[in-house]
């Protein structure tokens, strides 16, 4: 991938699961244009899907009157994805460990775990004015003088 490539993208969607497909396709096409590998695009796409699903389901509680904002920022070989909702806030520390034996057969609770596995860094915070924002970072090309992770 071209380490000097730069791109910014902003999308706003209503809180419907079918909109996840639209966002993921748009981001995937953008990353493909920029020369990201298919491997990177697949796992980034899945992390993005999980973040969007959480924002729609747990954040906005599928209230179609509430929006989810997505920002993509690529600079100096690093991709930053921000997904924010208008929900009541979220404490990631309350999420149970999906690898613990007592949680192994739970139907839910794996999304954030997958996001952290697929991205280099995942950080949750509160959005000014309410809601949750998750920031996910992934290095796609070596930084100036550095090595690709």
């Amino acid at each position: 991938m071209n380490p000097t490539a730069e791109r910014q993208l902003h999308l706003t969607i209503g809180s419907r699961f079918e909109n996840i497909e639209l966002v993921q396709m748009t981001v995937d096409e953008t990353l493909a244009e920029l020369g990201a590998t298919e491997e990177h695009r697949h796992w980034i796409g899945l992390a993005l899907r999980e973040a969007l699903a959480n924002a729609i389901k747990h954040g906005n509680r599928q209230d179609t009157g509430k929006q989810v904002d997505v920002d993509l920022d690529l600079a100096d070989g690093e991709l930053v994805l921000r997904v924010s909702d208008e929900g009541g806030g979220f404490d990631p520390d309350e999420v149970k460990d999906p690898l613990a034996p007592e949680n192994r057969f739970r139907a839910d609770g794996r999304g954030i775990f997958y996001m952290k596995k697929f991205m280099d860094d995942v950080h949750y915070g509160f959005r000014p004015g309410g809601g949750t924002i998750v920031v996910m970072r992934k290095r796609l090309a070596p930084a100036s003088g550095g090595q690709e992770r």
């Binding site: 699961f17 079918e18 899945l46 899907r49 999906p98 192994r104 057969f105 739970r106 775990f113 997958y114």
Partner: protein, 111 residues
């Protein structure tokens, strides 16, 4: 997402194609398993060779299906895991929960 159902030697095979993701794919998988159970199936083989993407909701449905079938005294196994689906199950250590097969004949015989 599309699911085709067929029965071979007493084993109900659900052939899944497309995206098993939140909203539609996960619900379709849940419905297909419930329909099979309602029809009396106790041996269920989910063929995932045509799956392009599975998210945590899809994985959750696989786990729920496994639990539901097992609790009813049946067996649920997986066939033809694409590499990326295999990776997803490995990451959350679920690959040790499911019996998985690359060969349909072997999978059928295993029941």
């Amino acid at each position: 997402m599309n699911i085709q159902r067929r029965v071979r030697e007493g084993v109900t095979i659900l052939e899944v194609e497309g995206k098993v993701t939140i909203g539609r794919g996960d619900v379709a998988l849940r419905d297909a398993v419930h329909v099979a159970l309602a029809g009396g199936a106790t041996k269920i083989l989910i063929a995932l060779g045509g799956v392009s993407t599975i998210d945590s909701s899809g994985v959750g449905e696989l786990v729920s299906a496994f639990t539901t079938v097992t609790n009813r005294g049946g067996k649920l196994k997986l066939l033809h895991l694409p590499p990326k689906v295999n990776d997803i199950l490995q990451i959350t250590q679920l690959i040790t929960v499911f019996e998985t097969y690359d060969n349909e004949d072997e999978a059928i015989t295993s029941f």
